[in-house]
């Protein structure tokens, strides 16, 4: 059998929350991917909305470039709100 394309599945569990990645399914097209996702990932009342995205359409960062991509903020603590001390006079922050 020709391998069906892979689809990444995103479920929104409640109104107001963002869709969250939960896993993937194989399916020949988008509609059947949605049905497969429904059957595999929402059997226990997990969702109010489903997205499927063809995995090949996702552009991902390269793990090899992890350092260049992500290490720069590590020692830049001034980007964290906790870096700044709050003056005594300022309440309710």
């Amino acid at each position: 059998m020709t391998e069906w394309p892979l689809w990444e599945v995103f479920v929104r569990s409640q109104h107001g929350l963002a869709h969250k990645h939960v896993g993937s399914v194989h399916a020949p097209d988008a509609e059947l991917a949605l049905r497969g996702a429904r059957d595999v990932y929402t059997r226990r009342n997990e969702g109010t909305s489903l997205w499927v995205v063809r995995a090949s359409d996702i552009t991902a960062s390269d793990p090899e470039e992890k350092d260049a991509m992500f290490t720069s903020p590590v020692d830049k603590t001034f980007r964290q709100p906790a870096f700044y001390s709050v003056p005594e006079e300022i309440k309710h922050i």
Binding site: V25, H26, A27, D29, L32, R35, G36, D39, V40, R43
Partner: protein, 252 residues
Amino acid sequence: MQNKKSLFEYVLRLGDSCLILSQRLGEWCGHGPILEEDIALTNFALDLLGHARFWLSYAAELEGVGRDEDQLAFLRDSGEFRNLLLVEQENGDFAETIARQFYFDTWHLAMLEKLRGSNDEKVRAIAEKAAKEVRYHLQRSTDWVVRLGDGTAESKRRMQSAIDLLWTYTGEMLEMDAIDQEMLDCGIGVDLSVIREGWMEHVGKVFDEATLTTPAATWMQRGGKQGIHTERLGYILSEMQTMQRSYPGLEW
């Protein structure tokens, strides 16, 4: 109620069709062509088992001789089952399972939609609950008929042969017998000539979209609703009932 015995039969038919199809679909467990389908088919099986429990519990209550849903499911012989012949047919290949499901779902949803207006409160409540799930079943089996029919040369050949093979079992669910008529007359049951019209329309439309040829009118098998079954039902029951037959009263 005067029609109680007929209502028992009527409800039993609905319950038995759900039960036997559920058992058939359960045979796919661990054998689906792909993981997603394995889960989907057994999901359907569990949905239908849930519907069967509603109907058979109600049937047991109507019968009023102290039997319950389990005794109806596990301690009757094939001549006492009232399911459609369609649902006891073998799974065959995936196309045959889909064809059987598609014929059944199209009928099942139309029935439940009508039964939601039944003047029997329990029938109405069960139909209301089941219709939601069956609407999804029909979408899914319809999707597959279109994709396999309008797919590769091989999938089309198999889908066409499956719909041809099972066509002969689609007659009895669309024609009235005395019990159907009695239930219609007292406002509980459904007019199958109306169901038939909608069924032919949907099936024809989907086969067109799937580039399949609607099977020509042929001799229709009948008898399931009256308890006359193909030999296949016996094999299903022997597997389904083996625990209760071997260890009467077993609970777990």
